[in-house]
């Protein structure tokens, strides 16, 4: 009797440890999967590419009709530095780094978004 009770306790402890490992593992998995800030570039409704915000990069987003936007990631911020569109609204736009911030190029249908960025304390912007 005594022995089996002790075994039970050991088993419960083992199970609790397993549960804890699962729990921590799940959270860790979650954190590495969703918490890294990235720039997501969309052309129309299609995702063109995803670029980590912590790595400096210059990417020419080329469209099938020859038009383009140049995306630059520098110091944790994403910016469009050059584009073929006539209005230049995307180039004039400031660099972005916060959650839900976007740069849009309407003529080229290019949208640059920040995912998992620093918390943004506004819900949207009026401009």
């Amino acid at each position: 009797m005594k022995k089996s009770k002790r075994n039970d306790i050991i088993l419960i402890i083992v199970i609790l440890i397993v549960a804890l490992v699962f729990y921590i593992g799940f959270n860790y998995y979650n954190s590495i999967n969703t918490k890294e800030p990235v720039t997501v570039v969309k052309v129309g409704d299609e995702v063109y590419g995803t670029f980590p915000l912590d790595k400096d990069v210059v990417e020419k987003i080329e469209l099938s009709d020859g038009s383009y936007n140049i995306l630059e990631i520098h110091n944790g911020k994403a910016d469009i530095t050059e584009a073929s569109c006539p209005d230049g609204i995307c180039v004039n736009h400031r660099a972005i780094s916060k959650q839900n911030e976007t740069i849009v190029c309407l003529p080229n249908k290019v949208v640059v978004e920040i995912h998992n960025g620093q918390k943004n304390d506004v819900d949207t912007i009026t401009n």
């Binding site: 088993l11 419960i12 199970i15 609790l16 397993v18 549960a19 699962f22 729990y23 799940f26 959270n27 129309g44 409704d45 006539p86 209005d87 230049g88 609204i89 004039n92 736009h93 400031r94 916060k98 839900n100 911030e101 976007t102 849009v104 309407l106 249908k109 949208v111 304390d121 506004v122 819900d123 949207t124 912007i125 009026t126 401009n127």
Partner: protein, 353 residues
């Protein structure tokens, strides 16, 4: 109880514990979840929708319904494109001086509203100014494509066009649901009001289908339905017109059940001889106004906010302040070229740090 049975019971208990822990982790803020969606399909700008819903699926369905309505208004109020089986504002323009055009009630309603606003804004918002605005539109497009060759439209050309901007020449026949432009040289441009009016209609539709907390922004023309799920107000940033500045927002405001619209010179403009000329044209001078970098209006109705932001942008500050004070429940914020800010009497109640 044999050993196997015992182990399987413990495994089940373990699974329950893990599930409970994960569940606890995700239920900190029970209630609805915040979702966002955006698309580029309407009013030549980006639409953002932020809302609380029980599930992603429910939110997507709501967004689809709202998008469908926005597309409907976009097509009706378009002055540049034709659509299959739709008579829109462009159709009316194409038939100026030729014949009345049978149109959807929502065009009749918009144009009636525009005539009303024309009176209320002391002739500052005139949708019959298409002839003048299209000249600026063409010069701006050409100047943007060929910056070295950018030119201003000749004043004689603008003056000549301004002879064909009489809003009373828009003949609305409600019984037959037709619109006729009496002057063959005139055309409609609903750019200063159509988007705001459409957003207001869509907000009313959203409420009808049971949406209680949502933020709809069509190119920065923002309408808040209700408040946030946790009972706090929606928090909006007013774009800093100085795009070189580190500060993204000039001010932050909190609103519920209200709309905010901003008119500014920092997005749509072109440059001639190092001078910026924006897309907002003063009906009195026929030239782009340059009193401010931007004007933001907060009020209940998005159509009114849209119209007033354009008209106040075209007035000197003192005049605009007096003008705003004539309207109930309308507040304004001006950002000047040097970055300084002025408020109407009660705007500051919305401003937060």
């Amino acid at each position: 109880m044999n050993k196997q049975k015992k182990i399987s019971i413990f495994i089940i208990v373990a699974i329950i514990i893990v599930a409970a822990l994960i569940g606890f982790n995700y239920n900190h803020d029970k209630g609805k979840t915040l979702f966002t969606a955006s698309f580029l399909d309407v009013f030549d700008t980006k639409t953002d929708i932020v809302g609380y819903s029980d599930s992603k699926q429910e939110f997507s369905q709501q967004v689809e319904k709202i998008k469908e309505k926005l597309v409907y208004y976009n097509n009706l109020y378009d002055i540049y494109n034709d659509y299959d089986n739709i008579n829109n504002i462009k159709t009316i323009n194409d038939n100026a001086g030729i014949k009345p055009v049978k149109v959807d009630t929502q065009i009749i309603n918009l144009l009636k509203y525009c005539k009303d606003i024309y009176q209320k804004t002391d002739k500052q918002v005139n949708v019959a100014m298409g002839s003048v605005l299209s000249i600026w539109h063409d010069y701006r497009e050409e100047g943007s494509e060929n910056p070295d060759n950018a030119k201003l439209p000749p004043m004689e050309e603008l003056m000549e066009a301004s002879k064909h901007t009489n809003i009373d020449d828009i003949i609305i026949d409600e019984a037959n649901s037709t619109v006729y432009l009496k002057d063959p040289e005139m055309s409609l441009d609903v750019g200063s009001i159509g988007k705001g009016y459409a957003v207001q209609r869509v907000v009313e539709y959203a409420k009808e289908i049971g949406i209680t907390d949502m933020l709809i922004s069509v190119g920065g023309n923002v309408c808040a339905i209700g408040q946030k799920d946790d009972g706090s107000k929606w928090r909006l940033g007013i774009q800093n017109p100085d795009l070189e500045s580190e500060e993204t927002y000039s001010k932050k405001v909190e609103i519920k059940d209200a709309c905010i619209v901003t008119s500014g010179d920092y997005q749509r403009y072109y440059t001639v001889d190092n001078v910026k000329y924006c897309h907002i044209i003063d009906p009195d001078t026929l030239m782009p106004a340059n009193y401010f970098s931007s004007v933001s209006i907060i009020t209940k109705d998005s159509g009114l906010a849209d119209a007033l932001s354009t008209s106040v942008y075209n007035m000197p500050f003192e005049e605009g302040l007096e003008f705003i004070n004539n309207f109930d429940g309308v507040e304004a914020m001006w950002i000047f070229e040097d970055g300084s800010i002025k408020y109407s009497d009660n705007f500051e109640q919305y401003v937060v740090e």
